[in-house]
């Protein structure tokens, strides 16, 4: 009798041990898979970075995935100030500043307009305001090809063709839909009684906006600014359609460097240029990833 009980205890212990081993194996497999995916996502960045630090010789003879033998920053210098974008050979630098000059006012204006629009659409609804919102929202989803031709003509008429001002206008107009959506969805969660209380307190439309709504808005302002900055900095279609040699944004210049046919193909310079072009939005992403993700998901879920 004692025998049997000892036996069953030990077999139970065994079973527990097996279950534990299975669990550990499962966890291990899980982490391994996650790691493989991480490597897959990191690989292009790794290749860009290592390639940009190699000499052309090493690139030709070495392997794509190898670390650079000696670190060489000359291709970065070339990408920044010497690479050719067509006939011009000043590197990315002037275009980098074009992009800055373009995104700062465009981000500011579209965020500001989005904030007041969202405030009206969430808290000061009037007859038909929901339809206005739907019409504005639809504007976010159109393929921009459908507006490019008339836009080019109108920019020409406004004397803005090929100017940074013209690009700012374009980005503001086609950014309003999203910025309005962000702010509207944020302000909709504020109880209507807040506005009523402020009205009874004697505050008007603008006063309520800057005394009560603006102070609660920093999170959504950050989300919107990041979203707009990423969109505008990374834009290519508007840049390539509405700019000229001196006013091109950095994405267009990068594409030109990569596709420029003069001289030897300098892969390391291409990669350095790509990283430079990506750096501002990457930094924003690393610093404020939480808000970046919130913008992405807010932009896709719910109207």
């Amino acid at each position: 009798m004692t025998d049997i009980s000892v036996n069953s205890v030990s077999s139970e212990k065994n079973a527990a041990r097996i279950r534990l081993a299975q669990r550990i194996a499962l966890r291990f497999g899980l982490y391994a898979m996650l790691l493989v995916f991480a490597l897959y996502y990191l690989m292009p960045l790794f290749v860009m970075l290592t390639t940009s630090l190699k000499s052309l010789d090493e690139i030709r003879t070495g392997s794509l995935l190898s670390l650079p033998r000696d670190i060489d920053f000359t291709s970065w210098a070339t990408a920044w100030s010497g690479a050719c974008t067509g006939i011009q050979c000043d590197g990315l630098q002037p275009f980098f500043w074009n992009s800055v000059l373009l995104s700062v006012p465009a981000v500011f204006l579209s965020t500001l307009l989005g904030a007041v629009n969202g405030y009206v659409l969430a808290q000061w609804r009037f007859k038909g305001s929901n339809i206005l919102f739907a019409l504005m929202l639809f504007g976010c989803f159109i393929p921009f090809q459908v507006v490019i031709l008339p836009m080019a003509i109108v920019l020409g008429k406004l004397q803005l063709a090929g100017t940074i001002g013209g690009l700012v206008l374009v980005h503001v107009v086609y950014g309003i839909g999203f910025t309005t959506l962000f702010f509207r969805n944020f302000y909709v969660t504020v109880p209507q009684e807040l506005v009523k209380a402020a009205k009874v307190d004697g505050a008007g439309f603008f006063r309520i906006f800057y005394s009560i709504f603006l102070p609660i808005s920093p999170p959504i302002i950050v989300v919107t600014v990041i979203w707009q900055f990423t969109q505008i900095w990374n834009d290519f279609l508007f840049g390539v359609s509405f700019s000229q040699a001196g006013t091109q944004p950095i994405t267009v210049a990068l594409n030109n460097i990569v596709n420029s046919t003069t001289g030897v193909k300098e892969y390391n310079v291409d990669m350095a240029a790509a990283i430079i072009a990506a750096l501002p939005t990457l930094i924003v992403y690393v610093v404020a990833g939480k808000y970046f993700i919130r913008g992405l998901t807010a932009g896709s879920v719910k109207g």
Binding site: A38, V120, F126, M136, V146, W233, L282, L296, S300
Partner: protein, 290 residues
Amino acid sequence: MTEWLEKHAPKMVLAPSFIAILVFVYGFIGWTAYVSFTRSKLLPKYDLKGTIQYERLADSPRFEVALTNLAIFGVLFILFATIIGLTLAILLDQKIRTEGPLRTIYLYPMALSFIVTGTAWKWILNPGLGIESVMHDLGWTDFAFNWLVDPNLAIYTVVIAGVWQSSGFVMALFLAGLRSVDNEVIRAAMVDGVSTPRIYMSIIIPSMAPIFLSAFIVLSHLAIKSFDLVIALTGGGPGYATDMPATFMYAMAFSRGDIGQAASSATVMMVIVTAIIVPYLYSELRPRHD
């Protein structure tokens, strides 16, 4: 006077944006649609000439390639991005200790410009020095990878790069969805002895239908607009093997000087997008009865 101002302030504040949208979105769409029914060539003409541009589009082998590519790219891109995104989300949902950093890694491509993505993958996939040479170094000397320059396969490189860039985003969507599933239901199922895979298959995933819809909308929207990625990765080539409606339209408008074809192809894109987006927006904005 100030009373009047106060009363109409909301509408007046909204007016500039709304007028801008009215002109720059709806007016322009109207203009493009109108011009697509004219004989416009280098310059826009305004006398209606029927559906000639659409007949030309229908006859154009290049546009046919563009539409086929859009179909191939759209289906594969949406499919793989969704599968990978959902897989990652489920894997990450298993109380992973390093979830934060991993999520950051999976999602960073979304912060990049498609031009950067295209540039990087163009280099990685290039036939001489890219993946091919890695395989050769690993001892697989007859490995050949020339999709980038093969007219029949080049479109798949666009899929690879596109999925790489967007699947992390789909993961973020699904992860948010997984986290919002009612915990009580899951606990109840666990108590009932339902296995984890079964819980996912029969409880969690079916409850995320709205997320699938959102992901589908965003991805299809990205697919139709895909312009930058094609330009940077293949330039639409070899030949026009990787053309998409977006690049076709651009080529017609800016290098071929054929405004009629540009306008009509843009209108076709618009129609496709509208067919997907309008029902979606309608269902999202419809007042809910609770």
